[in-house]
């Protein structure tokens, strides 16, 4: 976790959910999606992705299943209906927040 470590921590769950929006992924692919999607700014230690996914699974937001992929047994995660609802709520809340901050930091001239 290099840039924006604290800010990122507060949004990690939402970002993990968003990374699963386009289909099921295993932990390493989730980490790569976050890195690629943020232009390498969100480069979390890979080892911390797995406990976070387990936490989301315990909360019923994602569902993990074992599958054979690339010659190795991996746990593949997908969004549950509750996870989809949470992501939609988080996204709306983020838009509200971001537009409020923008309105203050970058007022129309």
């Amino acid at each position: 976790m290099r840039a924006d470590a604290q800010v990122l921590k507060g949004h990690l769950d939402t970002l993990l959910l968003a990374s699963l929006e386009n289909g099921p992924r295993h932990g390493y692919a989730v980490k790569e999606a976050l890195r690629a999607g943020s232009d390498a700014r969100f480069d979390l230690p890979t080892g911390t992705i797995y406990p976070a996914l387990r936490r989301l699974e315990a909360a019923g937001l994602v569902k993990g299943t074992w599958a054979e992929a690339g010659g190795r047994r991996r746990r593949i995660y997908e969004l549950t209906p509750a996870g989809l609802r949470r992501l939609a709520g988080d996204r709306a809340a983020w838009r509200d927040f971001a537009s409020a901050v923008s309105a203050i930091l970058e007022p129309a001239r």
Partner: protein
């Protein structure tokens, strides 16, 4: 494969339950292979993979903090004061010392309760040891049995049903349901 990677994998298997260690190991091997394709040497790729994956103690701690046993222990401990106060009010109000319950049974109940609470405290506060969170798997059925015993004892020996006793029994029944629901999930992890 690099000895550095082997050591790390052995560390994961030592510190974490098998399914969790296997999942993390697959992630480390993915990271390692990713670096093998872009870096020249085996050692260099191993070092880069370990740096990217994160320190073993930190990764084990993250898993420990998310352990279902730790969460279940915290929930049970959080309901402890409520259940305890309800039962205290019911027993004092009902003059429980006059009920026909043998002194040894009372003492045994207290001792077992104390041990279960201690085990839950260890599980709930564990920061680095996943093994300790598994104490919740031992303590939860004990708490379940104590709740059942308390309800049964009240049913059989209490001379009258008071409001306080009804509340205490309701809290215990809630905890019995919660523990019975959590236990299979604890055993699965």
């Amino acid at each position: 494969m690099s000895a550095l990677i082997d050591d790390y994998l052995a560390g994961l298997r030592r510190r974490l339950p098998a399914p969790i260690a296997e999942e993390a190991a697959a992630g480390l091997l993915d990271t390692y292979e990713h670096h093998l394709t872009s870096n020249a040497g085996d050692q260099e790729a191993a070092r880069a993979a370990l740096a990217e994956f994160g320190d073993l103690a930190m990764v084990a701690s993250e898993f420990t903090r998310q352990a279902p046993g730790r969460r279940a222990a915290r929930l049970l401990l959080a309901t402890g004061p409520v259940a305890g106060s309800c039962w205290a009010a019911a027993l004092i109000g009902g003059r429980a010392w006059t009920w026909p319950v043998p002194a040894t049974a009372r003492l045994a109940f207290g001792a077992v309760l104390l041990l279960a609470i201690l085990a839950l405290l260890v599980a709930a506060t564990s920061q680095h040891s996943y093994q300790r969170t598994r104490l919740a798997m031992l303590a939860s059925p004990v708490i379940l049995a104590l709740d059942v015993t308390a309800v049964a004892a009240a049913w059989l020996t209490a001379p009258a049903l008071t409001w306080a006793l009804g509340a205490a029994v309701a809290v215990s029944l809630g905890r019995i349901a919660f523990t019975a629901w959590t236990l299979p999930r604890l055993a699965a992890r």
